[in-house]
């Protein structure tokens, strides 16, 4: 996928002007957070489960090499194959090779964010293999030559009309604006693809070391058809997805659906443990798992290690005011929202992704809903420091911060300056008390008025309070 992350500011500003997108994002805000809140209220142990999930993930990361080795030996014992991919290129090549070995022409795909990360679809197409996305949202996007804007609701940026238009163009059927009819249409068209495919590619939510199983968790059932019908099933997943036992997987299962869609449980939780067994009448004859690294192994032991706990539930973006305002595409690469702001600079480089950790109001909502308690604001702050120390921030931001630092170290000057600035801003704002435009603050004031400072500066107030005996 093309990287558009450096253009975050411009894309965000376009997104805010895009009426259709704003309408579509309204659906998100009205949906997921409320559903999650209800699901959480029905599970009194939810906070304790989060603590346990955090601790278990930390234990897994501390022993990641050992659990991966165990997983590999169990998959092999079950008759499957494990492949290790250091980079996206490695992963794509491994998958192409498997496809070539079985003379594959068409490939069906269940939803996989790791495959978005590696750019698998483009790579297969360039090499003469047609991948067909089968998740309804992903299928819509493929018809529109579009990319996911959300990790579990990929087409959340589209409205009914967009889908209706795309289907009409591609399916040769009368145009409909009934979501039920559209879904039935996709069901019928894709059924033929499921049956015809030579290879089925899915992701995995977890890999169980104890049994050598991968699990997919879906509502549609497309992943199950993708992995059951073709002769070859390839799982593309990443190294941090391994869990020790079935019981450990279950801890995360209880958190995932509730945090993601607010469901009590997702419709299909399917474990795959190798190729078809003696006497089986269906199921794949070949079973491959591609374990993708792509920078993750370097996060172990780094200040970003906590991010490896992520179970890709999407709660952080569903609750993020910035994501809710600008949508996933503004982030310019595969992973949007707070988790994307932490992961993207790691995966595409701070030079290209460094803008993202600034796309936050640091309100802390993301951390408060994260099922594995990742301190997302803290991790974004790490990146900001990194970016600043590498001199990668735009001039206005650098000079602004440098100026502030200069003043902050000189209390007398600071006081004079803030008092002056305060006075200046109040007069700039006029009677309304709102600043509609201010030099260098366009990114802020184009979208909301900045409240002009009222009354005293913090230092003035602090002094007075101290004088009055320090009470409130």
């Amino acid at each position: 996928m093309q990287i558009n992350t450096p253009f975050f500011k411009q894309r965000a500003s376009e997104a805010l002007h895009d009426e259709n997108l704003q309408k579509a994002l309204g659906n998100l805000k009205a949906g997921f957070p409320e559903k999650r809140a209800i699901a959480v209220s029905r599970m009194p142990e939810f906070e304790d489960l989060r603590d346990q999930a955090r601790d278990l993930k930390n234990h897994i990361i501390e022993h990641l090499d050992l659990y991966l080795e165990q997983f590999e030996s169990k998959v092999t014992e079950n008759g499957g194959h494990v492949h290790w991919a250091r980079t996206s290129d490695d992963a794509n090549k491994i998958i192409l090779d498997i496809c070539k070995q079985v003379n594959a022409k068409t490939v069906t795909k269940g939803k996989s964010m790791v495959s978005e990360e590696t750019g698998l679809n483009d790579y297969l197409e360039k090499n003469g293999i047609q991948p067909v996305e089968t998740d309804l949202g992903e299928y819509i996007l493929q018809l529109r030559e579009d990319h996911p804007s959300h990790i579990i609701a990929p087409a959340i940026h589209l409205n009914l009309e967009d889908v209706s238009e795309a289907f009409h163009k591609n399916h040769n059927r009368p145009k409909s604006d009934d979501p039920a009819v559209l879904m039935q249409e996709a069901r019928e068209v894709l059924r033929e693809k499921f049956v015809a495919a030579d290879v089925g590619i899915t992701g995995a939510n977890f890999c169980v070391a104890e049994t050598g199983s991968t699990i997919i968790i879906t509502n549609e059932g497309n992943g199950d058809l993708t992995q059951t019908l073709p002769k070859t099933h390839i799982v593309i997943t990443s190294i941090e997805k391994v869990v020790p036992t079935l019981e450990d997987m279950t801890l995360f299962q209880r958190l995932l659906a509730r945090s993601a869609t607010g469901q009590e449980f997702t419709v299909y939780n399917t474990l795959s443990s190798g190729p078809r067994r003696e006497g089986d009448q269906d199921g794949p004859e070949n079973f491959h798992v591609v374990l993708v690294d792509n920078g993750r192994s370097e996060m172990v032991g780094s200040e970003f290690q906590d991010m490896l706990r992520c179970i890709r539930c999407s709660a952080c973006m569903n609750h993020c005011p910035v994501y809710g305002a600008v949508g996933g595409h503004s982030y310019g690469w595969v992973y949007p929202g707070p988790m994307g702001s932490v992961l993207t600079p790691k995966m595409i480089g701070i030079e290209k992704g460094g803008m993202l950790p600034n796309a936050s109001t640091f309100c802390g909502k993301c951390e408060s809903v994260c099922p594995v308690r990742i301190p997302l604001p803290k991790l974004m702050r790490h990146w900001r420091q990194d970016e600043f120390s590498k001199h990668l921030q735009p001039k206005a931001a650098r000079y602004g911060l440098a100026g502030w630092a200069f003043l902050a170290k000189r209390p007398a000057l600071y006081k004079t300056y803030t008092r002056m600035a305060n006075w200046f801003m109040k007069h700039w704002a006029g009677k309304k008390g709102r600043i509609e435009k201010m030099p260098l603050a366009g990114g802020w004031t184009d979208w909301r008025d900045m409240p002009a400072p009222q009354g005293k500066t913090f230092m003035q107030a602090w002094k007075e309070q101290q004088k009055n005996g320090g009470s409130h």
Partner: protein, 223 residues
């Protein structure tokens, strides 16, 4: 080699070398203990209440529950259900339980039964199940030569037999049951199914019947 590079990176990150026996022992202990994590109180109930909870949660997930006094009523109940919907074919699994039934009620209503893998265009399938999990109204099924997985996903309607005695409270109990039967090697696939297929990918509006079955019928047997 990718494999060694990845593993070495991790070992460097956790400041440990391969030969560290304590870490290895910790991992082996966890894998063999298969200990439970926190189990929510919700489904830790007497069996009768677990059954009631299963029914409530399965209904909430939009599964249709038909209670039957005996498994011998499954063929006639299936015949009625299919006939009411104008369906004249049923593909069934061939497990001992399913095969032992007298299927003549289907023929009496001109419904044809076959035993094979599912094909695109099949209207209805019937399979047995391994367990019901009360906590979320979830069915557990597994693949076998007698019960092909396509039966659970390809047909438009999926009818499932579940004995009351096969209902457990929580997922953990189902894992213990699976291990008791299969030991260290799981069946090729284990399916946990909670209601019929659905999608909200168009404008976040929930539609039932995406790619999997549009209806899920559970024949709950009083045994």
């Amino acid at each position: 080699m990718s494999r060694e590079e990845i593993l070495n990176n991790i070992r460097r990150g956790v400041k440990r070398n391969t030969a560290d026996d304590t870490a290895r022992q910790t991992v082996l202990n966890r894998l063999s203990a298969k200990a439970d994590n926190l189990i929510p109180a919700r489904a830790q109930l007497p069996q009768q209440e677990q059954i009631a909870l299963f029914i409530e949660m399965a209904n909430e997930a939009a599964a249709e529950i038909i209670e039957l006094d005996s498994i011998s009523e499954v063929p006639s109940a299936s015949a009625k259900w299919l006939r009411d919907r104008g369906i004249f074919e049923l593909v069934t699994s061939s497990t001992a339980k399913v095969d032992a039934l007298d299927w003549s009620p289907l023929a009496e209503k001109d419904i044809q039964r076959s035993q094979r893998v599912a094909q695109a265009g099949d209207f209805a399938s019937l399979t047995d199940s391994f367990a019901g999990i009360a906590e979320t109204g979830t069915l557990m099924l597994h693949s076998s030569p007698q019960s092909p997985t396509t039966l659970n996903f390809l047909p438009d309607n999926h009818l499932v037999i579940l004995s009351r005695s096969a209902i457990v409270g929580v997922y953990e109990e189902a894992w213990k049951k699976i291990r008791a039967q299969f030991g260290a090697t799981l069946p090729r696939t284990v399916n946990m199914i909670t209601g019929p297929s659905r999608s909200a990918d168009i404008e976040q509006r929930l539609q039932m019947g995406a790619h999997g079955p549009k209806t899920l019928v559970i024949f709950l047997i009083n045994d």
